[in-house]
């Protein structure tokens, strides 16, 4: 789908130019939305209209636009994007354009080019030689980089209006603990299967509560069945998962009985220490010290994971990236090709990930706290649903719906 905003003005009503423009769009199998229309009061007053033209592909759109241009309906953007060189490392030029997470294109040397790796709150860097445009976080700006400034020549495409009600239309519902979850999870499972069939990746963001509530085994099943292509988490999830693998407890509570174990409070520190001793989680797996659990499943099934550190971490585990910017970079690398993100029981990592995802990624946020879901929705546009639920029942149901 491609779209462009065109503008036409003058005596477009009396001359039938406006109806002709609309007919032309439809005759060429495009569709339109009238964004704005103002009609002159007196006979001698001109009228004007602004409409968004939609077409199946950029080439198709080009055909329609060419025809409309002949009738005097011109696209809003007739100029190339404005580029300014960054003068300082890590600093955008003052008038820099700040991105949204919606699909964005820039006009460079007369041609529209898609911005790679679209992510909100970044700048757009353009390579003047190749014309390649990509999102650039402020911390990654190098002196001399060409950044897009102002708003000329930038086209942001809103999310497609749902054509088929089935796919993901159950998304977009307000956050509520009072929605029929069974149905929702069934449809989610269907969507996940469709995503995998389409060759896209599924990202899971998980918080330590997952392990505390005993849902670790379900996540393991998802990983082993190929429904997880990348995992974002923190020291907490990994530590307690390893603790559960080594001691059968999470934060000292027995996962099979739900009762605290004597001296269980130091199990997680021993788990951390064990891994620190062998150097990495992978080493622990290789040396058969770590034999089960979520992290073990990731290693044995080759699922990439990013453990981002925080100020509250114990240890941390050697695999945890403590430099926040480096952690962000690692996460960005995994975000490519993601079609769906499942965020379960995690506030910090869910929001961090949400900030990085393009609006086109379907996002499911599961948390016992409705505020987390709302917070995520407030950050920016995305196709998402929130499910207020504890992670154990959610994952159990999901595994069941996926026949795992």
């Amino acid at each position: 789908m491609a779209s462009e905003i065109v503008h036409v003005s003058g005596h477009i009503i009396d001359s039938l130019i406006l109806p002709k423009v609309l007919d032309e769009i439809m005759d060429l199998n495009g569709t339109f939305e009238i964004l704005e229309i103002s009609i002159g009061k007196r006979k001698t007053d001109p009228s004007s209209a602004r409409l968004r033209v939609h077409a199946a592909s950029p080439r198709h759109l080009e055909t329609i636009l060419k025809r409309l241009a002949r009738l005097g309906a011109m696209p809003l953007h007739l100029h190339d994007v404005r580029l300014v060189r960054a003068m300082k490392e890590g600093v955008f030029p003052p008038a820099f354009y700040s991105t949204t997470n919606l699909p964005t294109e820039i006009r460079f040397r007369g041609r529209w080019r898609a911005v790679q790796g679209i992510e909100m709150d970044c700048g757009i860097a353009v390579d003047p030689l190749s014309g390649r445009a990509r999102c650039l976080p402020v911390a990654s700006v190098r002196k001399g980089d060409w950044l897009v400034c102002g708003s000329e020549g930038i086209k942001v495409t809103p999310l497609e209006r749902a054509r088929q009600p089935a796919t993901f239309q159950f998304m977009g519902s307000a956050v509520s603990s009072e929605k029929p979850k069974g149905q929702l999870i069934q449809r989610l499972a269907k969507e996940m299967r469709a995503i995998k069939r389409a060759g896209q990746r599924i990202l899971v963001v998980a918080g330590p509560a997952l392990v505390h509530t005993g849902s670790g085994p379900y996540l393991e099943r998802l990983i082993k069945a190929g429904y997880v292509d990348a995992l974002f988490a923190g020291n907490g999830l990994a530590t307690h998962d390893i603790e559960s693998a080594l001691y059968g407890t999470s934060l000292g509570v027995r996962l099979d009985r739900g009762t605290p174990e004597k001296d269980g409070h130091d199990h997680h520190m021993r788990a951390i220490n064990t891994i620190r001793n062998v150097g990495s989680i992978r080493a622990a797996v290789r040396r058969k010290i770590l034999k089960k659990g979520v992290m073990h499943a990731c290693i044995t099934h080759g699922i990439p994971f990013v453990l981002a550190g925080s100020v509250r971490d114990d240890g941390p585990l050697p695999d945890v990236i403590t430099d926040t910017l480096k952690a962000q970079e690692a996460m960005r690398r995994q975000v490519k090709g993601i079609g769906m993100a499942l965020m379960i029981a995690s506030t910090l990592h869910a929001i961090a990930t949400g900030n990085m995802l393009p609006a086109t990624v379907k996002t499911i946020c599961v948390d016992i706290n409705p505020a987390v879901v709302t917070k995520l929705a407030d950050r920016g546009t995305f196709q998402g649903i929130g499910i207020v639920s504890d992670s154990e029942s959610f994952l159990r149901e999901l595994c069941s719906a996926l026949h795992l």
């Binding site: 005596h11 001359s15 039938l16 130019i17 001698t44 001109p46 002949r70 009738l71 005097g72 011109m74």
Partner: protein
């Protein structure tokens, strides 16, 4: 008007022109002279003359110099470079005579009276092959009038004045096939139409000069004089006569070779 001293077929910028079908210079001059005499001597019209220029053969088609309103000339922005060279000549001529010359946004093409015809208080504006649709907006502002853009769809009738001729505020002589259904609907809603056959259209009968009825005119309700290319069909001749128009037929065959006839050779000053 402009004498055809240097008129020839030097390039091909419309389907009528062919370098292999040259205009006969002597005959062209004689035909032009006959039109000039008809206007000045017979019909008492005052005609100013723009001096011809070597290298600008189409300068004779003064209708395309621009569009006049009072003492302001809205100069043309020609589509083809061959005629673009006429622009400074036209500008200089009008400025010297005390006219104000305005130009439209250079991005948009506008070929003057060739594509702009008054139908009462509305300006019909032809676009596609020469003038651009967008130019109509600026014209609306400058003229403070309703300007209706009409798309031309037959490249043989590349200027509005080759296929459309307002006979008065409510009547239009035209070749409807030169327009699409939108254009046709617009014109039909605005005026009573007299359609010409394709044969007549190809003879450029729509490219006619209509003169307002002089005071104390004799000859029927129309009372207007129409100068039209000779050879129009009898049915059309009768139709126009029935409406009280006095027909003056002039043979302008040498100018047809460049895709123009009577109307193209004059620019209305008042």
């Amino acid at each position: 008007m402009c004498r055809p001293a240097y008129y020839t077929i030097a390039y091909e910028i419309n389907p009528w022109m062919s370098l292999r079908r040259q205009a006969n210079a002597g005959r062209a001059r004689a035909q032009w002279e006959r039109l000039y005499q008809l206007l000045t001597r017979t019909l008492g019209v005052r005609v100013d003359l723009l001096p011809p220029r070597s290298g600008l053969p189409d300068l004779v088609f003064t209708a395309n110099a621009g569009l006049l309103q009072g003492r302001t000339l809205i100069r043309s922005n020609f589509r083809y470079p061959q005629r673009q060279q006429e622009e400074p000549v036209v500008e200089r001529y009008f400025r010297r005579r005390g006219f104000r010359v305005v130009t439209l946004n250079p991005r948009y093409r506008f070929e003057g009276e060739g594509d702009a015809l008054w139908l009462g208080k509305t300006l019909l504006f032809g676009f596609r092959f020469r003038s651009d649709a967008q130019a109509h907006e600026e014209l609306t502002r400058i003229l403070q009038a309703r300007v209706l853009p009409l798309e031309l769809v037959d490249q043989r009738f590349y200027h509005l004045d080759t296929c459309c001729c307002p006979l008065d505020a409510e009547t239009v002589l035209w070749f409807p096939k030169a327009f699409d259904r939108y254009g046709r609907r617009v014109v039909e809603r605005l005026a009573e139409t007299i359609s010409v056959s394709e044969a007549d259209a190809k003879r450029f009968v729509c490219n006619a000069i209509v003169l307002p009825a002089p005071a104390g005119a004799k000859g029927g309700p129309g009372g207007k004089d129409i100068i039209v290319q000779a050879g129009l069909s009898t049915p059309l001749r009768r139709q126009l006569a029935r409406r009280g128009f006095r027909l003056h037929e002039v043979n302008l065959s040498e100018f047809l070779k460049a895709g123009g006839s009577a109307k193209c050779l004059v620019l209305r000053l008042a």
